[in-house]
Amino acid sequence: MDRPLRLIAGNFEGGDPLDQLARTLEALLVVASAPLSVEELAAAADHDAELVEEALRLVADRFAEERSGIVLEHVAGGWAFRAGRAEAAACARLFERPAQRNLSQAALETVAIVAYLGPCSRPDIARIRGVAADSAVANLLERGLIAEAGRDHGGGGAVRYRTTPLFERIFGLESLSELPRLDDVGSDAAEIRDRLHAVAQQRSA
């Protein structure tokens, strides 16, 4: 298995400039998170666009269907690597893996606060949790478990968030009134809020 590879490496030694450029393009394409145009590649590689196009043909030849699991593809925005068609099933299994399907502790605390206390702003949540709420809120918004619900202080204050119907569906609730009772913490939202604030204050005192 080693021999033909050494053969290639041997050919590259001495540094064919076009092949050198092709390697640079490979590197750029593997770190980019969006397709790269010839102009972008040329600017980053610090070479002429014409030479870049020539080197791209080399890369395309190396990374072609059947020949490699990685395939160079020309799309609307430019050039990018993709998985070979023959590997579609494996890629589908990779992306369908049931990992990461659980909420983080931060997200769970945050959504629990919003669900039990009713619409809350990020400063509210941060005060109760004792840490900034920005990333947990962003995460829950992205997953569609919370949504904006007006602003504090009759419109002028911070944005408030409430839970969504998707939240109820995922947690198997017909409505928020079905949330498990928290009588040991407080009998209603106001009492629970007071209790959480009191503890948060102790924690930071």
Binding site: P35, A80, R82, P180
Partner: protein, 256 residues
């Protein structure tokens, strides 16, 4: 060599040593944020630049830095200094040595990481998804509502008694309350302090009170309290109104 003129370039402060001392004494600079080792390094560097050993400067510096160290230690470990004082000298030395060694270890680890970062800086990789990767929705698995109740129960537990969180404690900025009270007095001629701060945490209330004192000192308001623990009444002082109007007028003319 004049110690007081020693130029410092620290994360928390840039300027001469005597200004730093003044700011610390006036409590305008948190000593906790000042890297005292950085001051010592600056002094030693300056000392090394000179041909001869300046004993006067060394003496003065030692006195000043020792005082700062003691202040900082007290600020950082208010309860623990008391604890240390109760320990036998041997035990106290043991405890301090343990802490210093722990910090030194953290610094060494940081130095190792810095070298590593420099050595590995030429390893570029993609952050985020591959451009042409299949877009996938990863729906959440069904969750149990009991988990929601459980996390809130834990959040509602009394925190443990031993708390060192005072070290991470930050006062909410006084300036925030300066603005708030000024705005309030722009709308109303008087208000009750308690009613205004009732919703706030104890820390925020403390900051709000500092802001109140600051505004009183500036003559922007008057404070009355009928008796100890009676409600604090805040009243706009008449001249503040006119001053403010003049200022606004002047600004309008200039910007017109």
């Amino acid at each position: 060599m004049i110690v007081r003129e020693l130029e410092l370039d620290l994360d928390a402060f840039e300027g001469p040593f005597d200004l730093l001392l003044a700011l610390v004494l006036k409590e305008e600079l948190e000593l906790c944020d000042v890297d005292l080792a950085g001051i010592v390094t600056a002094f030693l560097e300056r000392l090394a630049e000179r041909e001869e050993l300046d004993l006067d400067a060394c003496g003065e510096f030692l006195v000043l830095i020792a005082a700062l160290l003691e202040l900082k230690a007290r600020a950082l470990f208010p309860d623990e200094t008391a604890e240390l004082a109760e320990l036998e000298p041997e035990e106290a030395a043991e405890e301090l040595a343990r802490r210093l060694a722990e910090y030194r270890r953290a610094k060494e680890a940081a130095a190792w990481l810095r070298e590593r970062l420099a050595a590995e800086g030429d390893r570029y990789f993609r952050l985020g998804p591959s451009p042409l990767a299949p877009k996938v929705e990863t729906p959440l698995a069904p969750q149990h509502p009991g988990a929601l109740a459980e996390v809130l129960r834990v959040l509602a537990q009394d925190p443990p008694d031993v708390s060192l969180s005072h070290m991470a404690l930050r006062f909410p900025p006084v300036s925030q309350f300066l603005e708030r009270f000024r705005a309030l007095l722009g709308r109303r001629s008087r208000f009750d302090f308690e009613a205004e701060v009732a919703e706030l945490t104890r820390l925020e209330q403390a900051s709000a009170f500092l802001a109140l004192l600051e505004l009183r000192r500036a003559g922007e308001l008057a404070i009355e309290q009928a008796a100890p623990f009676a409600p604090i009444r805040v009243t706009r002082t008449p001249q503040e109104n006119t001053l403010r109007e003049e200022r606004t007028a002047a600004w309008t003319v200039r910007s017109a």
